[in-house]
């Protein structure tokens, strides 16, 4: 019976194609998790009043192997950890949308993000 499966060369080609795609999709998923929340990480995303904070969460690719998720909004840090700055103590969240620890939950859930995106792209 002739061999009809994937050859090693075909497999290597598929992996070479998929790895960058999984990377980009995972970065986009992580960005979405920080910004809007994700059931795959448990992140609730950023709180929304006028939407400035949520809109400020940016995704960049400094190189082919790096993804950077950042914000230039000063109060983003207090929204993340609940620490009022500069005085300390609790930082009250007034929005019913979003929640704390979106960055931390996304970092903790990064493997799940990669697994989800790899499974989706591999079909």
């Amino acid at each position: 019976m002739p061999w009809t499966g994937t050859t090693p060369k075909q497999f290597a080609t598929k992996v070479q194609t998929l790895v960058p795609a999984v990377f980009v999709a995972s970065a986009a998923h992580a960005h979405r998790s920080v910004q809007e929340g994700s059931p795959d990480t448990g992140s609730k995303g950023q709180p929304v009043d006028e939407g400035n904070l949520r809109a400020s969460i940016q995704l960049e690719f400094p190189s082919r192997t790096e993804a950077l998720i950042s914000t230039n909004v000063g109060y983003a840090e207090s929204n993340e950890d609940g620490i009022a700055r500069p005085g300390g103590g609790p930082y009250i969240q007034r929005s019913s949308v979003g929640g704390r620890w979106s960055f931390a939950l996304t970092i903790a859930g990064i493997q799940r993000i990669v697994d989800v995106e790899a499974a989706r792209l591999a079909g």
């Binding site: 609940g82 620490i83 500069p86 300390g88 103590g89 704390r100 620890w101 903790a108």
Partner: protein, 220 residues
């Protein structure tokens, strides 16, 4: 389904047990400015300026904050009633007495370290089939914010949070009701940066990722 209250309390109780520094039971005296010993070393025992100490075995065991540490003397922020040396006494540093546990309003006391906690349930997934009786995995974070005193250097805060971190080493298992909660190893307990704040405090955050498994029960 895991009992999240039980998970929360298991993690909190683990943190409450932290021992940052202790003399152990030994011979100590109270001086007008703090405490003294003839043998042993407060430095070796781990005490640092800015730590909140709890004395035991003295006539007066008032919690206070250290402003000076040498091998044989501790200086406290407030004056002490003098007590002659006696055995069987202990001075220790543990979880700060001022605590803002979740959903409890706290006004911090000036000049005293304090704690805030966040319990953050995150994901909930059914891992195995059939659904009824299958294994459910839940994950989340437990975050402790240790507010130390500013202008006391790094030792008090770092030693305190390092001691706490040691209690939540990867793979640590805690009983939470009828289930077990585990400190994750794939992404483990992380201590952050010391962040100076106004009001006389600097804060250091410890983030503890946890995972718990339970048996899924589908209601009839």
């Amino acid at each position: 389904m895991i009992d999240l209250l039980a998970v929360h309390l298991a993690l909190r109780n683990r943190a409450l047990a932290v021992s940052v520094a202790t003399t152990g039971s030994t011979s100590l005296s109270a001086t007008a400015t703090g405490y003294a010993r003839a043998a042993g070393s407060f430095i070796t025992d781990g005490f640092s300026v800015g730590m909140e100490i709890t004395p035991a075995g003295f006539a007066t065991n008032t919690v206070d904050v250290l402003t000076g540490v040498t091998a044989t003397a501790l200086t406290t922020k407030n004056a002490r009633a003098v007590e002659a040396v006696a055995a069987g006494r202990t001075i220790s540093v543990g979880f700060p007495a001022v605590r803002a546990f979740e959903n409890v309003t706290l006004t911090p006391t000036s000049g005293r370290p304090y704690i805030e906690e966040d319990f953050v349930p995150a994901t909930n997934s059914l891992l195995s089939f059939p659904a009824s009786g299958g294994t459910v995995e839940e994950t989340g974070l437990y975050v402790i914010k240790w507010y130390g005193l500013s202008d006391t250097g790094v030792s008090a805060l770092r030693k305190s949070v390092d001691a706490l971190k040691a209690l939540f080493a990867p793979g640590t298992t805690l009983t939470a009701g009828s289930n077990t909660v585990r400190v994750r190893g794939d992404t483990a307990t992380q201590a952050g940066q010391i962040i100076p704040l106004a009001g006389g405090w600097s804060v250091l955050t410890l983030t503890i990722p946890w995972r718990a498994y339970s048996v899924n029960q589908v209601a009839a």
